[in-house]
């Protein structure tokens, strides 16, 4: 395809969407609205309407928080890391992954607020001088979370936006309808001069290099929310790299989950080749093996430590009331991805999609098992009361988070080029 053909083709995807698009958006809005209703019900009635009961005071909301912050790692990995490694195959999938990062972080960052008993006081987390003389505890990982997530969100948004600039300018010059003023505003006067491109290239490389350590820091800090406690099953030195590996794993799985349908719905087959998906499949396999290594190291150390509390917690995971979830998680995260050793599975989009969906399920369950099962069997057996069962409120809020994420993504792919036109043109010209 010629360079101008690429532009016409991709801008053509941004045309007026059809009825299925509006139906999907409507459905997602309905789920979101119900979730908001459930959240306000919780605010009015108190956290008791969630399934929380001592000792399990972290449940589905914290699971969702860790899950969504994990999803954000796809963008950095696919886009920034592969950019720094000069892996050219990233071009087809980088834009979507960057957008996914931004939307996942927006979704995930809501959960600490949802999880608070008095959500309206969430701004107390900010180190602002106030009339009560309250000051935040800088030694608390919750505060580290705030800083890490805000910084990562800022850099991710800027990274996505800077990458979009040339494409927005192209859209501005081609589109003649209501979107033109929007593109004109967002294009920041981009003319495509040599000087602008020079600045663009250095800024993009710099942001990529900044985004990688930030992404690692974010999930490390999330892991320290757990690891800095004394709780067996949480207090483990491997948690930071293990959480980062899990985040990349779930991020890649979510990318495949989104991109496979998007590719056929928007007709992007020319840009997102099977080869790209095969590479994503390989990445998923590598991350699955690393996750299995982390599981093995955790279980081995718990056994080797000789501590009855450590060992007891891990045995309770595998044999206690949460065992079905733990075994499902191991099957989804460690066993199913082994199918990706077969090239036939990696190159079959339906098979790859199925594996990725199962990994998403497995990774959500992993966070659930870590959060809930450790709390359920903490030091004092007298507190081991009953099974934690999430309520409809938590279910509705969780569903709403997925709805919000997909909604933002759907709006994005119709408003902005879902693949980086400028990079594809560049490759088409170089070829």
């Amino acid at each position: 395809m010629t360079a101008s053909g690429v532009t016409d083709d991709i801008l053509g995807k941004l045309g007026r969407p059809g009825a299925p698009y509006f139906l999907t958006v409507g459905g997602l809005l309905a789920v979101l609205a119900f979730g908001l209703y459930a959240f306000f019900h919780q605010v009015r009635s108190g956290l008791g309407v969630a399934g929380y009961q001592p000792p399990i005071l972290w449940g589905v909301y914290i699971t969702n928080f860790v899950f969504w912050i994990g999803i954000t790692h796809s963008g950095t990995l696919i886009s920034a890391v592969l950019f720094l490694f000069r892996a050219r195959w990233r071009t087809g999938v980088a834009r979507a992954s960057e957008a996914m990062t931004v939307f996942a972080i927006m979704t995930g960052a809501l959960f600490p607020i949802v999880h608070l008993g008095r959500s309206w006081l969430f701004y107390w987390l900010l180190p602002l001088p106030n009339e009560r003389g309250l000051w935040v505890n800088f030694r608390s990982p919750i505060i580290w979370d705030l800083f890490a997530i805000m910084t990562y969100m800022t850099v991710s948004v800027v990274f996505l936006y800077v990458g979009l600039l040339p494409d927005i300018a192209t859209a501005r010059d081609r589109v003649r309808d209501w979107r033109r003023p929007l593109y004109r505003l967002l294009a920041l006067g981009w003319t495509g001069s040599g000087r602008q491109w020079w600045h663009y290239n250095s800024l993009y490389g710099l942001l990529a290099a900044l985004a990688v350590p930030l992404a690692v820091s974010v999930h490390s800090v999330v892991s320290w929310d757990f690891a800095t406690t004394m709780l067996p099953g949480w207090h483990s030195t491997i948690f930071a790299p293990y959480f980062v590996a899990g985040a990349i794993f779930s991020g890649v799985a979510m990318m495949i989950t989104l991109l496979v349908p998007m590719r056929s719905l928007l007709g992007l087959e020319a840009y997102m080749r099977v080869r790209h998906f095969e590479n994503l499949g390989k990445l998923l396999l590598v991350m699955s093996l690393l996750m299995s290594y982390c599981y093995a190291a955790e279980y081995f150390t718990a056994w080797y430590s000789g501590s009855p509390f450590e060992l007891g917690t891990y045995l309770a995971r595998l044999t206690g009331p949460y065992a079905p979830l733990a075994w499902t998680m191991l099957a989804c995260n460690s066993a199913v991805p082994l199918l990706l050793f077969a090239r036939r599975v990696r190159t079959s989009l339906p098979a790859l999609f199925a594996v990725a969906v199962l990994v998403n399920v497995g990774m959500w369950l992993e966070r659930y098992v870590i959060v809930v099962s450790s709390l359920a069997t903490s030091f004092d057996p007298a507190t081991w009361s009953g099974l934690y069962r999430p309520t409809w409120v938590e279910g509705a809020v969780t569903a709403a988070s997925f709805a919000l994420f997909f909604l933002l993504f759907l709006v994005f792919v119709k408003l902005f080029p879902p693949v980086a036109m400028n990079e594809i043109r560049e490759q088409a010209e170089a070829a």
Binding site: F85, A87, P213, V216, S220, W224, A227, T228, M230, H235, S236, T237, I238, F239, A240, P241, L289, L290, Y293, A296, A297, E298, F300, T301, Y304, S305, G306
Partner: protein
Amino acid sequence: MRPADRAGALILTSGARRVLAALALAGAGAFLHGLLLGDALRAWQALLVNTLFFWGLALAGVVLAALLQLTRARWSRPLTRALEATAAFLPAALPLVLVLLAGAGGWAPWLHHPPGGKGAWLNLPLFAVRELAAFLILGGLGAAYVYCSARRERGRRAQDRLAAAVLIAYIPLFSLVGFDFVMALDAHWYSALLGGYFLTGNLTAGAALLALVAAVGAARPGLAAHVGPRQLHDAGKLLFGLCILWAYMLWSQYLVIWYGDLPEETRFIHERMHGAWAPVAWTVFAAVFAIPFAVLLSRAVKLRPAALAAVAGLVLAGVWLERFLLVAPSLWRGDGLPLGLAELVVGAGAASLFVLCWIGLLERVPALPPSDPKLDPSA
């Protein structure tokens, strides 16, 4: 590659070979002297540290070569052979591992003071089987990969499969080496990350060796045509990245232990960061992270062979010292640092043996992979 080209590549003069052979013999002599006539524990410590470092370095070269092969890195093609040739040390490492296993009574505290409840894992027969199995699997896969890479007629697919097998075996098995040869020295201490931390340090040493080869190769007539700014820059960046990863692993382990402040966990850190060991700990931190991080931020440093070689040499020495810091404080109960002439001679002997094996193989195969269709002729 023509023989004339090869002459300018990485080779040893006969004088250098003699000096290295003499040093290797002196190292063996120093070890035996310590064992029979001097302080046996110090001799065992020195052997353990050098085995972990140089066996690890031999594996790290092959693992990095396999990684660069699988990721289709083009820049590193001219340096591939030099990385792969580290495998030549593997046969020489086997006697070292066997001596360590045979003399475990001299250095493994858990043999004399079996920790309660850990006998199922820390017992000599199982220990020996585990370590030998790890050695043979890693060595076998590494050798098969290097052989396949040198004789490319079997095709890229076979090479890719072996590369994947090398990586898949290396991570758990070399972690196991870390757990067994480092963590078990203090049998009450445990850290799930120790294995990952240990192998990251090892790969950092591998990247330092790669950077050193790039820097030396850039000045050699036989390789200079293929090793240019691109290779220097990328080798420098890889080293930079691995130094950061090492520090990340160090910090991830440290922070959780510091925050938890549990006596059974803090002891390992405390005894290395206080008293006589504190200067060693800070030197390691400076050599493997602080200085390389600050210096390698500069593109000019990465592009200047002498500067890159200096940083790479510093990191190699730093990782050696880090292995020493991991091992010795768990064993040594005397006053002062058990780091003197004897340790240096054993270290120099092991290093000489490594260089003899490594360059010895490099001299026998073309220093460049000329059959590689992706060998970039314009460095």
